[in-house]
């Protein structure tokens, strides 16, 4: 392992707008200790691909509770899950209606536009 590769987080991200028509994309993110998975996704959108969809508002405070996704099969907030210098698999919540990529319909029905 070179020094360099130890400082890279690889995000394997599920992309798509329908569960049965998705694809996997892997992106490399420079790793800095103390970053969150959301920090990594925000970095990717700025530097590589602004079409990656993720829902978040408060960025870092874990106050809005909007950035819920699965990391390696476990449901977490992307803003509190730590980014690690390895491959991490990011998928939308399996039990919610898929909207796009990592975004699912998480609002209570009474607070949705109909």
């Amino acid at each position: 392992m070179s020094q360099d590769s130890q400082r890279i987080a690889t995000l394997k991200i599920w992309r798509g707008s329908a569960r049965d028509a998705g694809r996997w994309e892997s992106h490399r993110v420079p790793f800095e200790p103390g970053q969150s998975v959301l920090d990594g996704l925000r970095w990717l959108r700025i530097h590589h691909d602004p079409t990656i969809a993720i829902r978040f508002s408060c960025i870092n405070a874990n106050a809005c509770k909007e950035c819920m996704i699965q990391v390696d099969g476990e449901t977490v907030y992307a803003c509190t899950a730590r980014l690690e210098a390895r491959e991490m698999t990011l998928t939308p919540l399996p039990n919610k209606k898929l909207v796009r990529d990592l975004v699912t319909e998480i609002a209570p029905p009474s607070e949705r536009f109909k």
Binding site: S17, E32, P33, G34, Q35, S36, R42, R45, I46, H47, P50, T51, I52, A53, I54, R55, F56, S57, C58, I59, N60, A61, N62, A63, C64, K65, E66, Y77, C79, T80, R82, V99, R100, D101, V103, E105, I106, A107, S110, E111, R112, F113, K114
Partner: protein, 566 residues
């Protein structure tokens, strides 16, 4: 393919579902209106409210005798001669009624000996700031207002993920709005007898900020394009002690404020020396330095080469025992430990961070936007109450008070008024934008463009300014605006962030221009606006600056501020 447009009729449309918008919706519903409450994010989660850490200023006088007049005097003094007097008066006089109403709704204000307890925040002459422990004020307020809204479910319809693109103006009045549903891409036209803007401030324009990602000044841009007027846009409040290092996850960057309220703490430069007295403001171990002065002192210390390693100042609580820390902040201490931070053994690094905007949409004291009948404003989007510098604790207070007043005024307007007919002229341009098969998205990297705008604002229109830097910023903003073009990238279904960011940037660039133009025009230093090339506060500049939009150009006027009678 153009998706079908959905059309909705309502009595009152409320745009933005933070505390101001939710309070406005509740009050309008109590006034008999059918309300549609929309937010581009989820209801009650996306604004600044949910991120509020602690203090809400109110002259309750339960523990210490107090009077709204004293709260008003402190608000006026902090505003450095530029507070809008009737708005500041409304804020202070109506605060107790709102705070007690929230108390009845079960928000859970911290109590001691049966009384709602209050803490002293910088700039207040006595303990006046109520809160919910432990640093849970914002989430508790949001939850309480959401629950109260649910009790009005017959009258308040909610729609999250709805992005408003423009207000609809017909016959010189606001008659609703046009937007689109973010999760489906469907264009939406809303006809409303009265519309309340409660979209918050503009802190997203800055790289380091303490607010939500959706606070890009969209309300200012909506009001400007509808014929409204903005005031005092140059006054952006930086929160002096935003967290800088070590990196933290799951914590709000303004979290150190509550620590200072409860435990004091010492602000030190890179040489571990106290320094605020050098700038004429001695802290004496207590937390009393107002935000504009503390921001200035830290940035000047960094400039002189005496900053902390990451370019800020140290904040130390090493004088506190583990028991005192645990007693004051309970579970928060565990969250810090999970981030490898032990405050008894180390200082943290802090630096100014964009936090709040004093300027905003010009309004009268019934929260009616000047120049746009039918449009009301509430919360941070309203300009003027806090002048050139806001007191700690007044932001949530103005969200409640102005929200309630805007809801009341909107309800008064809707009664006896027929549903407006939205003419094609009032909505055509906006519908074209949201339903357009716009341009090829090609290499348009909207996320990168937002980051670039944030760099321009942070580097050239931060707390310390010069004419040269401001001119450079205006050039940079113009370049971005040209790259953005006239049409969004094509729609591609649900949750298209690139398209959303295009609409965000459309608003952000005009708001950035307004801040830069006002800052360039104000050739003095006052409160949150410090010009190195004009360091004095000048009596002849006790003036508001009003900005309107004519075609593409911003017009700036500078009428004198009213003289204050306290």
């Amino acid at each position: 393919m153009t998706p079908d447009t959905t059309t909705i009729d309502t009595d009152v449309l409320v745009i933005g579902a933070g505390a101001a918008g939710m309070y406005a919706a509740i009050e309008a519903a109590r006034g008999g209106a059918a309300v549609l409450l929309v937010d581009r994010s989820l209801i009650g989660r996306g604004g600044a409210t949910v991120m509020a850490q602690m203090t809400v200023a109110v002259a309750l006088g339960e523990e210490t005798p107090d009077d709204p007049r004293c709260h008003y005097d402190d608000t006026i003094a902090a505003g450095r001669g530029l507070c809008d007097e009737p708005l500041a008066r409304l804020l202070c006089e109506e605060a107790p009624a709102c705070i007690r109403e929230l108390d009845r709704w079960g928000v859970g204000w911290a109590r001691k000996d049966g009384h709602i307890t209050a803490t002293t925040a910088p700039g207040h002459d006595r303990p006046r700031c109520v809160y919910v422990d432990f640093i849970n004020t914002g989430p508790a307020v949001s939850k309480t207002l959401r629950a109260e809204i649910a009790r009005h479910q017959k009258n308040i319809r909610k729609a999250g993920d709805l992005c408003i693109v423009d207000l609809a103006v017909g016959g010189g009045e606001c008659v609703g709005a046009v937007g689109y549903h973010l999760t489906s891409g469907t264009p939406v036209v809303i006809a409303a007898k009265a519309t309340v803007l409660a979209t918050g401030g503009l802190t997203r324009l800055y790289r380091r900020n303490s607010a939500s990602a959706n606070m890009g000044g969209d309300g200012y841009a909506l009001a400007l394009r509808a014929g409204g007027c903005l005031i005092d846009m140059e006054f952006v409040q930086f929160f002096p002690i935003g967290h800088l290092a070590p990196r933290l996850i799951g914590m709000d960057p303004i979290m150190w404020d509550p620590f200072r309220y409860k435990l004091g703490g010492r602000l030190l430069n890179g040489r571990m020396e106290e320094f605020t007295s050098t700038y004429g403001s001695d802290e004496d171990g207590a937390y009393r330095l107002t935000r504009d002065l503390a921001t200035y002192a830290i940035l000047k210390e960094v400039e002189a080469g005496r900053g902390s390693p990451h370019g800020g100042a140290y904040l130390s609580f090493q004088h506190c025992s583990p028991e005192a820390l645990r007693d004051a902040f309970g579970p928060v201490i565990d969250r810090l430990a999970a981030n490898s931070i032990d405050l008894t053994g180390m200082p943290v690094e802090v630096a100014p961070i964009a936090h709040y905007h004093m300027g905003g949409v010009r309004t009268d004291a019934d929260m009616s936007a000047v120049g746009v009948p039918g449009l009301y404003v509430a919360g941070e989007v309203a300009g003027g109450a806090n002048g050139a510098n806001r007191l700690s604790g007044n932001a949530l207070t103005e969200a409640f008070v102005f929200g309630r007043q805007a809801g009341r005024s909107a309800a008064r307007r809707f009664r006896g008024r027929a549903a407006p007919k939205l003419s094609a002229q009032a909505t055509r341009a906006a519908i074209d934008l949201v339903s357009a098969n716009g341009r090829d998205r090609g290499s348009l990297n909207t996320a990168e463009m937002i980051a670039r705008l944030q760099s321009i604002m942070s580097d050239s229109i931060g707390p310390i300014r010069t004419g040269q830097k401001l001119k450079r910023a205006l050039d940079g903003i113009a370049t971005l605006e040209a790259a953005l073009g006239e049409a969004p990238p094509h729609g591609s279904g649900g949750f298209d962030l690139q398209r959303l960011e295009w609409f965000d940037l459309r608003n952000m660039v005009v708001v950035a221009r307004a801040v830069a133009a006002a800052a360039l025009n104000r050739t003095e230093s006052r409160g949150a606006h410090q010009r190195e090339d004009f360091p004095q506060t000048l009596p002849q500049w006790q003036r508001h600056q009003r900005i309107t939009l004519r075609d593409h150009d911003l017009k700036v006027a500078s009428p004198p501020a009213a003289q204050f009678a306290s």
